[in-house]
């Protein structure tokens, strides 16, 4: 009886992963089989998984892949870092000082809701095609989730806790340290999850526009050259990177703030 219960929970906990994994494997197998036996492979239209994985392996071996990842990673790191350093304080002050919030809210909301990728040509004109231009584009895209999530976080701070700290003679600094930061942090990390997705868009836009290296550049270049197996390979790499980032942050959220799951 107990064994059966154990089996049931095993199936329940892993069923999503098992069914999902089978579906993914089936997807690649069917793709491979269709193009091997049923439809003649036209290399200028489509590729098949065996060629794609071979291509990834070759690009890893020659080291191009690692170099491209590094080249794309640098502006992402700078832009994302700047967004953290500027976005969080702006959001916290907006939430903490009501009038600052009133003043900045409409402008920033309008910017957040608009397709900011459209500033890419301007950023390129003003800051050039190097690391700086890309980092600024990524910063522009990444900063808003941080601003608005830390704003929401500060607004959700319990006033009772603030009063308590004040009654015990806490100063402004103590308020931030004891009450505000622990409340706001989960919001900020949820914001980081949105921001990293937007940051990756920034990487791609920047590199599609003007670059000579990097993952986005390589995808566009292989596309222009009609080397579809390599292009699919780089697309897969990009997908894996994106999944690692978002699921990694999700995992951090779950382990650090288990009471906030599903926010």
């Amino acid at each position: 009886m107990e064994e059966e219960v154990g089996k049931l929970t095993f199936w329940q906990t892993w069923r999503r992963l098992i069914i999902g994994g089978i579906a993914v494997i089936l997807f690649f197998l069917v793709w491979e089989a269709l193009l091997t036996w049923f439809i003649p492979l036209n290399k200028f239209v489509i590729s098949k998984p065996s060629l794609i994985f071979l291509g990834i392996a070759r690009d890893m071996e020659s080291g191009i892949l690692w170099r491209d990842l590094l080249v794309s990673g640098r502006p992402l790191l700078f832009g994302f870092g700047a967004a953290v350093l500027i976005g969080i304080p702006v959001g916290v002050v907006m939430g903490w000082r009501e009038r600052v919030g009133y003043s900045l809210d409409p402008l920033l909301t309008a910017l957040y809701a608009s397709p900011l990728v459209a500033v890419a040509p301007l950023v390129i004109i003003f800051f050039g095609v190097g690391v700086a231009g890309k980092a600024i584009l990524i910063f522009v895209l990444c900063v808003f989730p941080f601003v608005f999530n830390s704003l929401a976080g500060v607004r959700s701070v319990d006033p009772l806790l603030i009063n308590t700290v004040r009654s015990f003679g806490g100063k402004e600094m103590d308020l931030y340290r004891i009450v505000i930061v622990p409340t706001v942090l989960p919001f900020v990390i949820a914001g980081a999850r949105y921001a990293i997705g937007r940051g990756l868009i920034g990487v791609l836009v920047g590199e599609f526009f003007a670059a000579s290296e990097g993952v986005g550049y390589r995808i566009a270049w292989y596309g222009d050259m009609y080397v579809l197996d390599r292009m699919f390979g780089y697309i897969l790499v990009m997908m894996v990177v994106a999944i690692l980032f978002t699921e990694g942050i999700r995992w951090a959220e779950r382990t650090a703030f288990p009471w906030r799951v599903g926010m």
């Binding site: 579906a23 809701a113 397709p115 040509p121 526009f209 579809l228 997908m239 699921e247």
Partner: protein, 285 residues
């Protein structure tokens, strides 16, 4: 304020003293004044920069004041370049969004109702939703060529996932009790969906639509930027940036922003209307 509704005691009515806490005109509209005042301030400062600071020759070339941008916008309309481009962008937007609604709603309902199907699709949806869809653009260009259909497909992929995920969540969220009631009266799957599931998930779907519109406008922008077409507002912007006409680029940018804000604003008001009657009624059953 409660002492103003005191029962009539026959004494002369006491003149109500202006309460310190009663918000005046300024306090009531403070957020509006500050918000729009700040936007106005930014625009004024931006306008005044060239007359206060002397810009270097290179900067002057790239600097566009708000009046120049409005002028460029007027020129675009007057030269007749804007309307065909806007028509092209709008029809690509409409077609892509329409297609994504046609695909996402049925698929979302089916996934929400079938556990196996949702488990099967889950890894693909997680993967594609985490990845910037932009990564597929070069592939889409190879498959669909340069022209309207590439733009439509980019818009479609962008708008599909918020709609699909929200429909799925809405269907999942439907009241099990209501479903069982309808079932015990002999309803089949189609009737269950029609009577319970779809009305219940409507607010979710509309919230998804709001996100989808933002993504769809984004799709139009990027697809037109990167050679998805030879027409459209995005193309005007790229050409202008190639010849350093910063004012035209800004005009296009503001046009896209306005489109996105107006459309999401409309959906937001629809959303508010739909959720007005919703929560208590379903819970009080």
């Amino acid at each position: 304020m409660s002492d103003m509704d005191m029962p009539n005691t026959g004494l002369a009515p006491v003149e109500p003293v202006d309460d310190i806490n009663t918000p005046g005109f300024w306090e009531k509209n403070e957020s509006l004044f500050l918000g729009f005042g700040f936007i106005a301030l930014v625009i004024i400062i931006w306008q005044l920069v060239p007359s206060v600071f002397t810009l270097s020759k290179g900067m002057k070339l790239f600097f566009a004041t708000p009046t120049m941008i409005v002028g460029a916008f007027g020129d675009l309309i007057a030269s007749g370049k804007l309307w065909p481009a806007l028509q092209f962008s709008a029809s690509a937007f409409g077609l892509g969004l329409g297609l994504s609604i046609i695909v996402a709603l049925p698929l979302g309902v089916v996934m929400g109702r079938s556990q196996v199907l949702s488990d099967m699709f889950d890894p693909f949806i997680t993967a594609i939703n985490a990845t910037p869809r932009l990564v597929f653009l070069p592939l889409i260009l190879i498959w669909f060529g340069i022209g309207m259909w590439s733009v439509v497909v980019v818009v479609f992929i962008g708008a599909l996932f918020p709609l699909l995920i929200n429909t799925y969540e809405g269907v999942k969220n439907a009241d099990k009790l209501l479903i069982n009631v309808v079932k015990s009266y002999g309803a089949n799957e189609w009737e269950i969906n029609k009577l319970v599931v779809i009305p219940n998930s409507l607010p979710f779907i509309i919230a998804g639509l709001r996100l989808a519109i933002g993504r769809a406008v984004l799709g139009v922008v990027v697809a037109e930027f990167f050679g998805g077409s030879s027409n459209g507002v995005g193309v005007i912007m790229v050409r202008a940036s190639g010849s350093f006409q910063v004012d035209v680029v800004f005009a296009g940018l503001i046009l896209f922003m306005a489109m996105s804000l107006i459309l999401t604003g409309i959906v937001r008001s629809i959303e508010a209307r739909f959720s007005r009657w919703r929560p208590q009624q379903t819970k009080s059953f």
